[in-house]
Symmetry: C2
Subunit: 142 residues, 2 copies
Amino acid sequence: MKKEEAIFRDFLKTKGLKLTKPRRIILNAVFSTHEHFNVDALYDIIRKRHKNVSRATIYRTMPLMIEAGLIKQALRCQAKDHYEHIFGHKSHLHFICDKCGKIVEKESKQVEKIIKDLAETEGFEIREFNVGAKGLCADCRS
Amino acid sequence: MKKEEAIFRDFLKTKGLKLTKPRRIILNAVFSTHEHFNVDALYDIIRKRHKNVSRATIYRTMPLMIEAGLIKQALRCQAKDHYEHIFGHKSHLHFICDKCGKIVEKESKQVEKIIKDLAETEGFEIREFNVGAKGLCADCRS
DNA sequence: TTTAATTTGAGAATCATTCGCAAAAATAAG
DNA sequence: CTTATTTTTGCGAATGATTCTCAAATTAAA
Ligand SMILES: [Mn+2]
Ligand SMILES: [Mn+2]
Ligand SMILES: [Zn+2]
Ligand SMILES: [Zn+2]
């Protein structure tokens, strides 16, 4: 059993929930990608594998995987929520190109540290960072 | 004429657009608040003043005011886009409480500087920062 | 196998935002 | 002050992502 599956199973158990077949299929789809994804993308991946899971179930599963600490809401693009892995990935910030939609990722321990400190002085408990900027990517500028 | 109106008028002129009555009403509503606002909130403010502007027009005006540099998309809350002033306000980051919805603002020149530098090395031109975190506010933790 | 609790799929319902279009307003010209 | 041209507006319909409802299916326990 893959590590993320163990994490998910354990999380579900603490909530009195079950690691069902559809949930396992969704989990595999989620961790088969290495980019940002949205519900429709997962739906397509699952269909291509000749599995069948309804969109409703995918929608219902995202918050569970977020609460389990496996994924997070990364950004909103084309009116859709996009997610990304947390498990096995470093935190980073996003530069989103308004013109072509491209997303550039950058790491910065510093930014995160500063935000953490600010949160602490405020008594705020951070669950999910959301750091980035919108604008024009290098290609679209020229 | 207030400064923001002059800015808006000048911006519109460069685009061959007109500073109409509805646009002026919306502008006043926008700058009558000093908090984050959404389209419905503006609609209510306008109605209370016995003016009448359709939601469609408000929706159409937001992108104009953004491009004019007067406001920005601040965050998304309860499935609605929320905006805030840029003109006359310092840039800041948002801590959003998942439980009660409260938003705490914090300034940090440092964070902005680091992000700017990262963008520069990437050749990315920033138009709008989006920095913050979601979690639990001090009140909701206890 | 029986039972009780949870989950699922299908489609309907929501709801913010966008669109289409004919009527109104703004601006320029005469 | 007209007339002509362009832009804008309001209305309501359309869109589309997400959520909800609920009966049937699955799961795990007894
Ligand atoms: Mn990312
Ligand atoms: Mn703010
Ligand atoms: Zn681009
Ligand atoms: Zn709170």
